[in-house]
Symmetry: C2
Subunit: 207 residues, 2 copies
């Protein structure tokens, strides 16, 4: 928003990089109003462009949403990688990755819901989105030993942290937590993650 290019005010017909600006507009609307108020027309309005201009860059409303979701996955992956880099031991890295996942979900809940919800029908039809999602998963899987056991452990870890994030932003387990606490993702991950045990997957091989 503070990075708005000066061109915006003086452009005469062509925009310059409307595609990127539409994605940004969609993100703004998503954060501000929620996914129900995010329409192609609203994004176009916010970008200062006619209501059908987006169709020159996205075949569909779903295509715009998929692009926004893909950006979200890249952000999630980056956050997890930052978390992993912060810690040394394998134990601590898993903890950091999990809490990065949780923090991302809570701080970007609208995008997170878009990434995993059903607003984008047939996500498989958007390769960019699939790649971004697979790359995010790869961060988690990279912490696990190779082989089928490690793969299963990665899925279990992902399932756990993903479920926890989902239920959290849905308010489904808010009452169960220490209400009033200011959301400490590391503490939450440690508190609930202590029921996970990946030692079985680790004995077979090493990192």
């Amino acid at each position: 928003m503070s990075t708005s290019n000066a061109k915006t005010s003086v452009r005469s017909y062509h925009h310059g990089d409307l595609r990127a600006e539409l994605i940004r507009s969609a993100q703004v609307l998503l954060e501000r109003e929620g996914v129900t108020k995010l329409s192609l027309r609203a994004a176009a309005r916010l970008a200062g462009v006619s209501q059908t201009a987006p169709y020159r860059h996205f075949t569909d409303k779903a295509a715009l949403l998929a692009a926004v979701a893909a950006v979200g996955f890249r952000g999630l992956a980056a956050a997890m990688r930052r978390g992993a880099a912060r810690a040394g031991s394998a134990e601590k890295r898993m903890l950091e990755i999990g809490s990065a996942y949780l923090a991302f979900a809570v701080e970007n809940s609208a995008v997170f819901r878009l990434m995993f919800g059903s607003e984008i029908p047939d996500k498989a039809a958007h390769p960019e989105l699939r790649w971004a999602a697979e790359d995010a998963f790869a961060v988690l899987a990279g912490e696990m030993p190779a082989g089928p056991d490690g793969s299963d452990a990665a899925i279990a870890a992902w399932s756990f942290v993903h479920g926890l994030a989902t239920l959290l932003i849905d308010g489904q387990i808010r009452s169960e937590m220490s209400a009033g606490a200011p959301f400490d993702p590391v503490a939450l991950t440690r508190r609930f993650g202590r029921f996970l045990d990946f030692s079985k997957a680790r004995v077979g091989r090493q990192t």
Copy 2:
């Protein structure tokens, strides 16, 4: 559909139980076309009633969706209870409950997505929905020891199985599974659930 009551054809102005019929119509549309094609008007059409008749029974489109989701939560709770009743030991009960959760999500994926998605904004505004959700969670929590540790363990278990279900119906981990297998929820729950360890929560107390 085969259970259409005979009254439908001879009703003259008042329907009899339009509220229930609208919920049924919405379920049918949801299963048949997905959540994107589920509109108030379509439900009204399917119920053979004018497009604004639903507003006599639901304040909102969200209210109809919430009612459908609440029915879903009741079905999920019932499925888990059936699973729990099928097994004796605590271990086996957890396994059955988890696989019932998974089976429900896969076999009723559209309703499941509605239950946990963002199509219903502000779910807290629908008490019936909240009660149904809390009752479903109570099935899981009932398997855990009382006290804070047991509560945490219940949340961890719920998070795990919920995340697994979500990622499954999203196709996000399909490639990781033995492709082509005909979906065995019990096997899946056992395979990934082996990384969970609730013995720490059990030592404090008993069932």
